[in-house]
Amino acid sequence: MHQVASGGIDWKAIREDFPILRERAHGHPLIYFDSAATSQKPRAVLDALRNYYEHENANVHRGLHELSSRATEAYEKSRQQVANYLGAASADEIVFTRGTTESINLVAQAWGGKFLRDGDVVLLTEMEHHSNLVPWQLLAERTGAQLRFVPVCDDGTLALDRLSSLLTPEVKLFAFTHVSNSLGTINPVRELCEKARAVGALTLVDAAQSAGHMPINVRELGCDFLAFSGHKMCGPTGIGALYGRAEILDSIPPWHGGGEMIVSVTLEKSAFKKAPHRFEAGTPNIAGAIGLAAAIDYIESIGRAAIFEHDAQLAGYAMERLAELPGMRVLGPSAERGALVGFVMEAAHPHDLTTFADQYGLAMRGGHHCNQPLMRRFGLPGTTRASFYFYNTKGEIDRMIEILRDAVRFFS
């Protein structure tokens, strides 16, 4: 569907699938370089949402009528699609959540609340987004568990040589990001999971920045949990999922109580459904799940390997061009990296740069990117981040360089 005659992918036609990319900002053609915050949505996803509300909308798992059957079927089919997308063994290993943050909080509160004790350790890294840090701080406060951190090297990679001394038997869980949202570092997930397993620790992968950008197979990676958000991969906001290995997920008590997650209820106590429904109290985000499935279909129609290749080329090209600018420092590894570049310029503070760029239609993010400890580690108050997706072009990067050059002149 997105192939051209030569067998390559027609990226230009793909761009046309995103109506918002025709918008103008401050009178200029929009250049959207903030997909790491949230991606834009293709028409296929918007149509799926509309179709659901026009033809299938009803509550799931409870109505005995035609529409409820359609909604339930579509909702559960979406779960199966997520399972297939992640290479999970079964749809029962997929819990729908509001996104990565909620997925991690579920594990921290429900799994951590039951299994962690005073003296246990949760191993994290210095490059975690606040969403994979704060839930563990809250848990540590509650249980007396300790937090430990894998340091980040100057080149933005994890200090893997420190791993063996950090991964002691007290470590019950190693939670880490797949791709750093401000450095672009791609962590060696498989290796990290293997090392954790060797000391009996479970693993949680924060796949917020990778799920829509590269092939992922949870069984090949060997992780126990994986969390991601739909909105960063062409889906709607407010929907995401937690993958949990069946054996582990089944051992976790309910998290939120309410309708939908119970088998029977008396005034005194309740019996709960099995995973994953045990973790989905109340009416779920049905439309969101259906929109997420449409996003998965859309991404698969292009192919994740092709998307990864495309984004890696853009990031590489951006690094190359940014190096032409005076007083430029790009953070993170120079080789293998995710679809983003974080940088600081001597000429201007990130906030001034992003305000300036915005006036020319270029949307970037400036600040600490929910990475305050990491920024401190690099001695920076913040960075400017340009993040890419498969609908971006080299031409847009060229334009970014022109705008940044103007900014240097303007602020110097």
């Binding site: 990130p350 906030h351 305000t355 006036q359 600040g367 303007f410």
Partner: protein, 158 residues
């Protein structure tokens, strides 16, 4: 060139951001306020020395931040030095209105600070402009000692 950008970053503002006035540690400060803007990591460390009449005899700052926060702090210290508490409070209120209220007239007493009026067109940047003022607001509420403030707490006009 774009007019809103030029209005935001006027030459005087860029000049103050590149070469902030009253930048440095005030050794004999009576009050020290450490302020930060958690949204962007900007920091200010403000020192104030009060005269026998209670006025702001001397005022200096250090820290780091964007052009708007640095220029605002620089222009503010230049303006407030030698002013009475009542005058400082009045300017604080006037400056807050200047950068937040679309309809506010720029009062003459603010002098060059009026050049920061362009900030009102950039709502995300109001906190940058207000950081130094939030610090001075805190300083005016105490006669001695050290304290911290953040732009994430509600602005209360004294």
């Amino acid at each position: 060139m774009i007019s809103e950008l030029e209005e935001l970053y006027q030459e005087v503002i860029l000049d103050h951001s590149r070469r902030p006035r009253n930048f440095g540690d005030l050794a004999d400060a009576a009050v020290r306020v450490h302020g930060d803007n958690p949204a962007c990591g900007d920091e200010i460390h403000l020192g104030v020395k009060f005269g026998t009449d209670g006025g702001l005899q001397d005022i200096k700052f250090t820290g780091h931040g964007c052009a708007i926060s640095q220029a605002s702090a620089s222009l503010m210290t230049a303006k407030l030095k030698g002013k009475s508490r009542a005058e400082a409070t009045e300017m604080l209120r006037a400056f807050h209105d200047l950068v937040t209220d679309e309809t506010a007239e720029a009062p003459k007493m603010l002098g060059d600070l009026r050049l920061l009026q362009g900030v009102r067109k950039f709502p995300q940047r109001v906190k940058c402009a207000m950081l130094a003022w939030r610090a001075v607001e805190q300083a005016l509420q105490q006669s001695a000692g050290e304290s911290t403030i953040s732009t994430e707490t509600e602005f209360v006009t004294p």
